[in-house]
């Protein structure tokens, strides 16, 4: 589904990603862990097409297409979803209106007609239940005045509505209490199918107690320095990132 080859990227002339290699197949969940400033969010930005990040070298192939040639909205239509670390507030625009616009843009890209209001409401009801989001939340302006937990839940709700093939969850666990964490993780698990893939970016291991990854990668100073199964996450939790740093220094 996703192949990243020797990816180099910079922000404001400073190189952040220094040769990332990663391959992700349908049905897989990969976790990307690493200390602050290692380039995790930058990687998410490259995949979703944020233009403040400049790719200087390498390739990103998504479902056989050169992802880097596509606009952010085209990537979204093609099934890429980014769960934002800091979801953005859009005053005056209700979640209902926002989601309806987004969903219809996706349908338009597939050559389908706009969804009927009744079908849309039905779909909303279904997805709201799935991610256990408070009903009144969807009538409010996008993320405006939301608590940290509400914002993250809203991200998962949007993910449920758009049914992406590749979801990248950027620090979705940060700022969540244990209950909210469980709800969010449950939502993600329920949305998992053999056809879609998920990249979970996280600083801590605790989210991975709920979302079980197939592979765990450690990103450090712009490179993936270690890849292994789920047990790597446990080891990191126990020994901390210093362990990786030391190991690298010894090499």
């Amino acid at each position: 589904m996703l192949i990243i080859k020797d990816l180099h990227a910079e922000i404001d002339g400073k190189e952040i990603l220094k040769g990332i290699n990663l391959e992700l197949k349908a049905g897989e969940v990969h976790a990307i862990m690493g200390p602050n400033g290692s380039g995790k969010s930058t990687l998410a930005s490259v995949i979703s097409g944020r233009d403040l990040v400049k790719v200087t070298k390498g390739k990103v192939i998504y479902k056989g297409n050169n992802l880097l040639d596509m606009s952010p909205e085209a990537r979204s239509h093609a099934g890429i979803f980014l769960g934002f670390q800091y979801p953005i507030e859009i005053p005056g625009v209700s979640i209902i209106n926002f989601m309806k616009t987004a969903l219809n843009e996706h349908r338009k890209a597939r050559g389908e007609d706009a969804i009927s209001p009744s079908d849309f409401l039905k779909l909303m009801r279904e997805k709201k239940a799935l991610v256990e989001i408070d009903s009144s939340l969807v009538n409010r302006s996008v993320n405006e005045g939301f608590s940290g937990g509400e914002k993250k839940r809203n991200e998962i709700f949007q993910m449920a509505m758009l049914e992406p093939e590749l979801a990248i969850l950027d620090e979705t666990d940060s700022g969540l209490d244990i209950d909210a964490l469980r709800t969010v993780a449950n939502g993600v698990n329920k949305l998992k199918t053999p056809k879609n893939a998920t990249i979970v970016i996280t600083h801590y291991q605790r989210l991975l107690d709920y979302i079980i990854p197939d592979r765990v990668h450690v990103l450090y100073k712009g490179r993936i320095v270690k890849s292994s199964g789920r047990e790597l996450a446990m080891e990191l939790e126990e020994k901390g990132y210093d362990w990786i740093k030391k190991e690298l220094a010894n090499d």
């Binding site: 239509h77 934002f84 926002f98």
Partner: protein, 482 residues
């Protein structure tokens, strides 16, 4: 990214003003320039009664002593008032027996503008008075309205047929000496609309005036006078466009509204005069005095304006709350893009007891434009329990534009409550990207955000106007995030 944006911006700014055409209609025009003879000629041309000529002459003599105001946050190039034509009219006789007599070119003009002058318009419940350059060419549904005793006609016709009403109310809200542009208008106004709703009558359809400047080098000076007698109601709409020209054209109008006891007047404007090109060449200078008086107790006046056009806008639709328990509202969306400048807002003068006013102003600036809100809330000594709430929001797109807020408050009664809230925000790249990531294009994202921002005001417009205004906003702003 920047190149892409320049491209979009170019496409939009070059193509968006779809009303920029010029109609080749045979015109009768006066020579350029303004003096007492021109004022007399206008009056003679319209076979006006003596009182009106006197009114004009007094205004003209007063105007000659006045200076153009310079207190607004506007950079106004010098205007040569002797280089303007003060009267231009389609040559064909403007009084028409039936629609078939309307000059086909003229009909086509209004068709292009999407204004049907025919009976079909009745289905949508709008009666139209169409004013082209200096004269009103057609007023629809006059007969239907007359059955209810409603007078809806061109100003000239009202002068002929209802001179007493005109005499009683003309200049009673905006005296000719009020300001420079009001004095100019009072001297040379050519036509406009007149509307009278008798006691206890609820006007069954929207009344609408459509203003069009067509001729070159011509100023447009129209006057609208609306009188709502006791316990009556009317909703009035005003729209305006002009051809695309390299030179600036002057528009200086006056609107006066009188609401008697328990009457209600809603006045909505979608102002779309030609704004000039993307480099700031051409466009209409729009200097307008609009004022209403809540004369009787329990009366109400509501102004709603969507300002997207004009190179320069200088406009403060105001209310004098004279009657006890009277109320007034001002809802405004003012958009400026490229090199447009707008200094707009309102004045609420509380005189009566228990008077209430509400101000909701939403400014949107993009490109290199400057957008100012200027408002005065004045509570006089005897206005016990007067209340005002003002909310002034500014939205910025890009970093080359400016937004300014100038709220003035004068409260002379200690029982009054005056509240003012203001916010300034920016459509950020992060908001756009968030929308992009959900599959929404940048253009649509701006539309979504701007509509969300202006919803409160657009909701106040009559339905079909609201839809048009929404589209207009999007067109005016497309490609403006940089």
């Amino acid at each position: 990214m920047e190149k892409e944006q320049d491209k979009i911006l170019n496409e939009i700014t070059q193509g968006d003003y779809k009303y920029g055409f010029y109609t080749n209609i045979e015109m009768e025009t006066f020579p350029k320039g303004l003096n007492e003879d021109v004022v007399r000629m206008i009056s003679a041309k319209k076979k006006e009664p003596e009182f009106l000529l006197e009114f004009r002459l007094k205004a003209f003599r007063h105007w000659k002593k006045m200076k153009m105001p310079d207190w607004a946050q506007l950079n106004i190039p010098e205007i040569d008032y002797q280089n303007i034509i003060y009267y231009a009219a389609p040559k064909k006789k403007p009084e028409l027996e039936s629609l078939d007599e309307v000059d086909p070119e003229l009909r086509e003009t209004f068709d292009k503008l999407g204004i049907a002058l025919d009976e079909q318009k009745r289905l949508t419940g709008v009666a139209v008075d169409a004013v082209i350059d200096s004269v009103s060419v057609k007023t629809t549904f006059k007969e239907t309205l007359a059955e209810l005793g409603i007078i809806f006609s061109s100003f000239s016709e009202a002068v002929r047929e209802h001179p007493d009403l005109v005499r009683k109310y003309l200049g009673s809200v905006v005296p000719y000496s009020d300001n420079f542009f009001a004095a100019l208008n009072s001297a040379v106004f050519s036509d406009g609309s007149f509307c009278y709703i008798p006691k206890g009558v609820r006007c069954p359809m929207e009344l609408s005036t459509y203003f069009r400047i067509n001729a070159a080098n011509t100023g447009q000076f129209e006057r609208t006078l609306i009188v709502a007698d006791e316990s009556s109601y009317v909703s009035y709409l005003e729209g305006c466009t002009a051809p695309q020209r390299d030179e600036n054209q002057l528009h200086a109008a006056i609107v006066e509204i009188i609401a008697h006891e328990s009457a209600e007047v809603k006045y909505s404007t979608v102002q779309n005069w030609y704004p000039g090109d993307k480099n700031g060449l051409g466009g209409i200078f729009n200097f307008v005095t609009k004022r209403g008086i809540c004369k009787g107790d329990n009366s109400k006046i509501s102004w709603t304006q969507v300002e997207t056009g004009s190179a320069i806008t200088w406009k403060y639709p105001s209310c004098i709350l004279k009657g006890n328990n009277s109320s007034a509202e001002f809802y405004s969306v003012a958009v400026t893009n490229n090199h447009q400048q707008a200094d707009t807002g309102t004045k609420m003068i509380h005189i009566g007891k228990n008077t209430r006013s509400l101000i909701v102003s939403k400014g949107i600036s993009a490109g290199n434009s400057q957008n100012s809100y200027r408002g005065l809330v004045k509570v006089l000594k005897n206005a016990d329990n007067a209340r005002n709430f003002s909310q002034c929001d500014s939205l910025l797109l890009g970093d080359k534009c400016g937004a300014h807020t100038f709220p003035y408050i004068e409260a002379n009664n200690s029982s009054s409550v005056v509240e003012h809230e203001a916010t300034t925000s920016k459509i950020g790249e992060d908001q756009i990207f968030y929308c992009n990531q959900r599959g929404i294009s940048t253009e649509d994202a701006i539309g979504l955000i701007v509509n969300g921002y202006t919803k409160e005001v657009l909701n106040k417009l009559p339905m079909e106007f609201a839809v048009e205004a929404q589209k207009l906003l999007q067109i005016s702003l497309e490609g403006s995030v940089g």
